[in-house]
């Protein structure tokens, strides 16, 4: 390919500037010695101190990360098995199932959120009457009133994460050489062993890929969490949305700087280590 020109470097530089300028502004004003988000009045770390004392924001960050992690793990398990299952189905059965699977991807977030909210509330009502009936019949003490909370939030996140996992694994399955499995079974593996030892390593990059995307989508989500998290549980996005509706505090700037800083530092560190590793490998090959 042609060597990159000055124009291309300039264009890319501008795009990155566009992507990062607002974030830098956020970060700079997190150190501002006044509530203003636009007028610089001196350096302070006050907002960070206040941030760590703010239980609401901290527990929201905790919830966000926990939900992202758990939902990614659960989605990966279900999604991997689902992808393998779909791959081995006959086409007539697979096509409609895949179409349904793509619905959470294609659908607008707000429709998914609203539909899940309606579903959960309806399910709660059903449960309520069922539990009440069982309680009176058997004398148990099942809770009759369920409400939106961490569990529904996680279920919702799993719901929109699984399609991403499946989307990442299916191409890898298609690229896989079918005869490998045959060969493994010829050499004496049971079908389960063949599956673990042949299929899984082939699709592992797809799984990792999918987990990455799923985690990113989960952390980035707002709308679906807004409708399914209920009153007592909040993700970071919901807390910020609530805060923007009231007096805005630079604590928001502080948390975004922290989040961004942690990920950036780690990315740089790991990248540098990998680059050094590559250089070492290259040197060894020579």
């Amino acid at each position: 390919m042609r060597a990159p020109t000055v124009f291309s470097k300039l264009f890319m530089g501008l795009v990155f500037l566009f992507l990062y300028a607002p974030i830098f502004v956020l970060m700079i004003f997190s150190f501002n010695d006044s509530k203003s988000r636009t007028v610089w009045q001196g350096f302070t770390l006050d907002w960070y101190v206040q941030l760590f004392q703010d239980r609401e924001i901290m527990s929201a960050v905790y919830t966000t990360l926990l939900v992202a992690l758990l939902s990614t793990l659960i989605a990966t398990v279900i999604g991997t098995f689902a992808a393998i299952g779909f791959y081995n189905m006959n086409r007539r059965l697979r096509a409609p199932l895949l179409a349904i699977d793509h619905i959470p991807l294609m659908n607008a977030d707000i429709v998914t959120g609203v539909s899940l909210c309606l579903f959960f509330v309806a399910a709660f009502q059903l449960w309520g009457s069922a539990a009440a009936a069982i309680n009176s019949a058997l004398g148990t003490a099942l809770p009759t009133r369920l409400y939106l909370g961490f569990t529904t939030l996680m279920l919702a996140h799993v719901c929109f994460n699984i399609p991403y996992i499946i989307l990442s694994i299916m191409p890898k399955l298609r690229q896989m050489d079918k005869h490998l499995v045959d060969a493994a079974q010829d050499l004496g593996c049971t079908w389960l062993q063949a599956f673990w030892k042949v299929v899984m390593p082939e699709i592992k990059p797809g799984i990792v890929n999918g987990m990455l995307i799923a985690f990113t989508m989960s952390v980035d989500d707002f709308v679906i969490s807004y409708f399914t998290a209920g009153s007592a549980t909040s993700t970071l996005a919901m807390v910020i949305y609530g805060m923007t509706k009231k007096r805005i505090s630079p604590k928001i700037n502080a948390i975004s700087t922290l989040l961004f800083g942690i990920v950036l530092i780690l990315l740089v560190t790991v990248n540098v280590r990998e680059a050094r590793q590559e250089a070492r490998n290259a040197a060894r090959k020579i």
């Binding site: 042609r2 609203v114 989307l167 989500d221 961004f260």
Partner: protein
Amino acid sequence: MPLMPLSGRRAAMKNKLSLFSLPYVIWMALFVVAPIVLVVLYAFSAAGGGFTLENFSRMGDYLVVFTRSFKLALVATGVCLLIGYPMAYLLSREGPRFQRVAMMLIILPMWINFLLRTYAWMSILENTGLLNRLFAAVGIIDLGNLCNAGLNTLCAWLNELFGLSLSTGRNTQMEFFRMINTQGAVVLGMVYNYLPFMILPIYSVIVKLDHSLLEAARDLGASSSRIFRKVIFPLSLPGVLSGVTMVFVPSVSTFAISKLLGGGTEMLLGDLIELQFLGSAYNPRLGSAIALVMMGIVLICMLVMNRFGEGEEQAVIL
């Protein structure tokens, strides 16, 4: 594909493996199909129970909101495409180290939440915000006032000369440019938030293009622009489609961006639906109906678009 029947062993394994998807099929029935069925049920039911079409009958009232949402989403998608495609293409031509770093830099903002990214623009675009302060300090606002004054006199002169009635009332006392609480701010917010979703699919497709195809084209004497038009662009269409989908659908249905940057004076579809569920005008049936209509229109758009590209083999984001 050989026509001989699958060996018994392989068929048995296939059957067993296809059962792996059973948990997910049950999951889908519960958490994907049932909620949508509920939305449909709500859309067609009246407050006292029973089937009705009245929720849809008033859809015409909201035509303004529909057109506004689709217009803004189209503009945002167009801008994302204009910026994102060249970006993806230029990225694909760089060295692997650069590409790796660039990819990370593009994904990184997604790990700060979507709402934080939108909030960042508020303090920049406000009347007393950063940009306006910068403009005032550098004198651009005074320049704007001068231009307006000049245009005013010009229009007054033209009016006298030709008997027109051009506007001569432009504000010459501006202290700031009104940037926030406008539709432009909403489009800016959409572009900013969804640009990575346009760049990544296109990039991932272009990068996987078979280089031998490009070499063959060059060997056959095609110029660079010809190669792009005839080889690269058509082959990158699945990525373009994926990117367009991932920008258009959220843009049409957003409500946080219009609330934070749009001022709430001109509702979009997302605002309208949220209003009916958790907002100030509780009416889940009407909300479901609007959501259904929106879903339908978006589905039609997607189907129309998919005629230009492959159906199932959608580009993966990474």
